[in-house]
Amino acid sequence: MVMELFRGLWTTLQEFIQTNLRGPVTYAYPEVKRPLRTRFKGVHELRRYSNGLERCIGCALCAAACPADAIYVEAGENTDEERYSPGERYAKVYEINLLRCIFCGYCEDACPTNAIVLTDKIPPAGYARESFIVTKAQLLVPPPPGAPGTPQRTTDPALRTRSIWEEGLVNEPV
């Protein structure tokens, strides 16, 4: 019995020394946040090309792939005067119900243009259920520095027919 006592004391002393040498295993939360892996599947975002156009073409494959039926997409027609994305159509309405979402990442896999991506940010908390339905305005990332936002006025004929911009074929996001 006495030996076990000292073994226990030794165990806790080791823990004590380790905490003092290597620091505690916990974080001072609001100031220091636990770093997440980049492959962590957190809250979604809709990405853009480097010229500011939206990647999303409103195809709704993500909504089809979603096992929790959390995504709602309504497509609109692009014109040369008001162009949101390459190709014919863009997402006029894009909503995700975060309370339904299971963060499986199937939408990410289904997306032909790599528009929807699960980031490493933790989904927010809220007081009302409605606040968990995130809209396109909340999902869409701001245009890259120097690039204009959407809609854009364009004349490039390639943008009328091709739904994936050249850059999208070579320079994929990680």
Binding site: L5, G8, L9, T11, T12, L13, E15, F16, Q18, T19, N20, P24, V25, T26, Y27, A28
Partner: protein, 332 residues
């Protein structure tokens, strides 16, 4: 007579102030150390490293409602915290914090008063404080509090015997009841080496006397919510809390004085001021051990507590006293 009174007044004032700040920062130190043992950060909100935490706690306690249950015995309910706290403070009156030294041209001992029967005084005073706890349990008119109070009295009585006998073997070895005499007798070697069994018994029984883990059955959160503290709030709770922590310091001080050579250490005769440093270091180490034990050991069962006290520690300390007496008688 007058200078003696002034000296005593100044010394007690310093002592009380030291103990109060010591208590306040001991609560923080305990939380921080426990956090270290559990690989956590611990309190860090109030001030840098949480150094203002005791202040925040004090302010909080002052603003809490001072609640007295309707069917409580009001007089005893108010008196009980005082009966617990005052004896714990009184212990320090006879503990020498350092050797005799000259301060501002005035030769004095770093001890409030050097009673000739200091050891008897300590034993007597420490046993008063259990009345406060038992009375608190009784006066609260609450089942948990009463059970806590009863446990406290049973535990104290069981362990006081073995503790007293451990002190008896110290007294037999040093041949004096004067506390400063016991310290001076350890000039050639600490008593922990001469009386290891007594030291271990004193340590274990001391843990039980101050109700520290693994002997914290009196408060036993899981069974008794908070034992005798259940109905107490605000500053009355703070007084109990204070007595708990002052007892920790007191236990460290007594263990240091009896077994670890008190203020003695290298060069203490050349620089008497060093005595205070040695004393503080030793007490600090013992308090660390107390916290370490709390971070390690689970609470023991009540029957284990009783059988350890009566069947192991008491016979062991009796045998130790007899052995010591024989050796002292033969060598004298």
């Amino acid at each position: 007579m007058a200078p003696f009174l002034v000296e005593a007044a100044i010394k007690s004032l310093i002592l009380v102030l030291l103990l109060l700040t010591g208590f306040a920062y001991l609560t923080l130190a305990e939380r921080k150390l426990i956090a270290d043992f559990q690989a956590r950060i611990g309190p860090n909100r109030a001030g840098p490293y949480g150094l203002l935490q005791p202040l925040a706690d004090a302010v909080k306690l002052f603003f809490k409602e001072d609640f007295i249950p309707e069917y409580a015995d009001r007089v005893l309910f108010v008196l009980a915290p005082l009966i617990t706290l005052i004896p714990t403070l009184l212990i320090f009156a006879v503990i020498p914090f350092g050797p005799e030294l000259t301060l501002f041209g005035y030769r004095t001992r770093l001890q409030l008063t050097d009673v000739h029967v200091g050891v008897l005084y300590i034993v007597a005073v420490t046993s008063i404080s259990v009345y406060g706890i038992t009375l608190a349990g009784w006066a609260s008119n609450n089942k948990y509090a009463l059970l806590g109070g009863i446990r406290a009295s049973a535990q104290m009585i069981s362990y006081e015997l073995a503790m007293g006998l451990a002190i008896v073997s110290v007294v037999l070895t040093t041949g004096t009841l004067q506390v400063s005499g016991i310290v001076e007798a350890q000039r050639n070697g600490w008593l922990i080496f001469l009386q290891p069994v007594a030291a271990v018994i004193f340590f274990i029984t001391g843990l039980a006397e101050i109700k520290r883990a693994p002997f914290d059955l009196v408060e036993a959160e899981q069974e008794l919510t908070a034992g005798y503290l259940t109905e107490y709030s605000s500053m009355k709770f703070a007084l109990f809390f204070m007595s708990e922590y002052v007892k920790m310091i007191g236990f460290g001080a007594l263990m240091t004085t009896f077994f670890l050579g008190g203020y003695l250490g290298p060069f203490v005769d050349l620089y008497p001021g060093l005595g205070v440093v040695y004393f503080t270091l030793k007490v600090g180490f013992l308090i660390f051990v107390l916290i370490w034990l709390r971070a390690t050991l689970p609470r023991i069962r009540y029957d284990q507590l009783m059988s350890l006290g009566w069947k192991v520690l008491l016979p062991l300390s009796l045998a130790n006293v007899m052995g010591t007496a024989v050796v002292v008688a033969l060598t004298a």
